[in-house]
């Protein structure tokens, strides 16, 4: 067990180190979030609807789209120069490889999520709840679920001719539970309702994340082996 966790950590550390040095994905996702918020400002007529009313839904849409941008490149590095083969001959079980990638992607996407919420709070005067823990819980659970599915599918699309363009087609139909319950819980918390109100949504989100992780751990080996 100790060894397994160590392997996961090694994979995650490798990906994060590369990302920390190049800052490619985080820069792309961060810029995407801020620019989308700016475009959103011009897309909505403030005399008709206040952006705050749409904030919860928009936050989740922005996270999904920004996440898509970053997750699509999960295996970009490995595609070059047969690096994936190198990684596969390492004495690491396939599921540890998958979980390592999930951890690295979660760290990245959690940063992007925090940025998204901050941007919405700053630009559109979205009032954040006094106790941030429930909101963080909802956002983090959703992010892990999204990353779990996205990492699995980006492993698939990396092996196809269509590449990243295929990712939203595979991913978005399955994101319906995430968006439905994530946005609902976020809206409740932003409206200042007690965390108990969104307990049901949080439970479904947790179930979604659990299913996604289980599927990823169980199925990842089939998409990398030859």
């Amino acid at each position: 067990m100790r060894e397994y966790l160590g392997q996961i950590r090694a994979i995650a550390a490798k990906d994060l180190r590369v990302e920390f040095r190049t800052k490619e994905r985080i820069a792309a996702m961060g810029a995407f979030v801020v620019l989308t918020a700016i475009l959103f400002n011009y897309a909505v007529d403030r005399t008709v609807v206040h952006p705050r009313e749409l904030a919860a839904g928009m936050i989740w849409i922005v996270i999904s789209l920004a996440g898509l941008l970053g997750l699509g490149r999960t295996f970009e590095l490995e595609k070059e120069d047969g690096a994936l083969d190198g990684l596969l001959v390492a004495p690491v079980p396939r599921d540890a490889l998958y979980l390592g990638k999930v951890v690295a992607n979660t760290v990245l996407l959690a940063g992007v999520t925090a940025l998204t919420v901050a941007v919405f709070a700053l630009f559109f005067q979205v009032r954040l709840p006094g106790n941030p823990l429930p909101l963080i819980g909802v956002l983090l659970t959703g992010t892990v679920g999204f990353v779990a599915l996205g990492t699995l599918f980006s492993g698939i699309t990396a092996g196809t001719r269509m590449g990243d363009t295929l990712l939203p087609i595979l991913l978005f139909p399955l994101l319906v539970p995430l968006i439905t319950f994530g946005a609902a819980a976020t809206a409740d918390l932003l409206a200042g309702l007690s965390p108990g109100e969104s307990a049901y949504s949080l439970r479904v989100l947790a179930a979604f994340t659990l299913v996604a992780l289980t599927a990823g751990v169980g199925l990842f080996r089939f998409i990398v082996e030859d």
């Binding site: 092996g159 087609i169 030859d226």
Partner: protein, 243 residues
């Protein structure tokens, strides 16, 4: 199951399916009473519901065959999953065209976020991904595995998607719609819809078996041709494993 049995089963089921299809068309157009509040357009119901049922049934076959294919690596199971997915795509398309045509006259709008209709739409897109993954992969074997993974993950998510679409609807109440499939369904209507259900299940199973047989024959022809091109390598054409 030998290919011979598959084909015979396909023929028998096909004949039964066509006979029942003719029967239910007669029932729909000449026998069943017209629904009082919605009128003639309600007769779309008799293809809409069976198509939805067959679509879901097909997706069940896809998921089951995909999962077992990943487990055992048996090529036949992939042929079956693919055949069922093709049928599922056909029948969900029927649901998605007949639904709006009905809704327009019954509820005054082409599209409603009716939970089952929404679920069917999402299912259609999952099938689309299933085929796109397969067709955009150069390595045949990898494409099969990718598609199987998509099929399994899609099926695992169906219960949660189902919860979402229902919950969303309860959150945003829709105009009250006439529920034709409620307990007040006229007995003649129930008979008709069950006939239609049986008819299209049989038609689907028959075409599914033929499609499956075709896939197996194609794989066999590939093996034969490979052996013809390179007889020394594995087997002579006569020794190639039968379809």
């Amino acid at each position: 199951m030998s290919l011979r049995t598959v084909r015979w089963a396909g023929v028998v089921l096909g004949f039964l399916g066509v006979a029942l299809t003719i029967l239910f068309h007669w029932q729909v157009f000449f026998w069943v009473p017209t629904e009082a509040s919605m009128g003639i357009v309600q007769r779309i119901f008799y293809i809409h519901l069976p198509a939805a049922w067959v679509g879901f049934f097909a997706f069940g076959i896809v998921a089951l065959c995909s999962a077992v294919y990943l487990w055992l690596g048996e090529e036949k199971l992939d042929h079956a999953a693919r055949a069922a997915a093709e049928g599922g795509m056909i029948f969900t398309t029927i649901v998605l065209t007949s639904g709006p045509l009905w809704a327009r006259l019954a509820w005054g709008t082409w599209w409603t976020w009716e939970p089952r209709l929404t679920l069917t739409l999402l299912l259609w897109f999952i099938y689309l991904g299933y085929f796109l993954v397969r067709s955009s992969t150069d390595n045949l074997d990898r494409g099969r595995k990718f598609a199987a993974v998509v099929g399994v993950v899609g099926a695992l998510n169906i219960p949660l998607i189902h919860m979402s679409v229902y919950w969303f609807r309860s959150l945003h109440p829709q105009p009250v719609v006439a529920r034709v499939d409620g307990p007040q369904l006229h007995p003649d209507m129930a008979t008709t819809v069950f006939t239609a259900l049986g008819a299209w299940t049989l038609v689907f199973l028959s075409l599914f078996l033929f499609r499956y047989a075709a896939a197996r024959l194609e794989a066999y022809a590939d093996r034969v041709e490979a052996a013809r091109l390179n007889p020394t390598r594995s087997a002579t054409p006569e020794e190639v494993m039968a379809p």
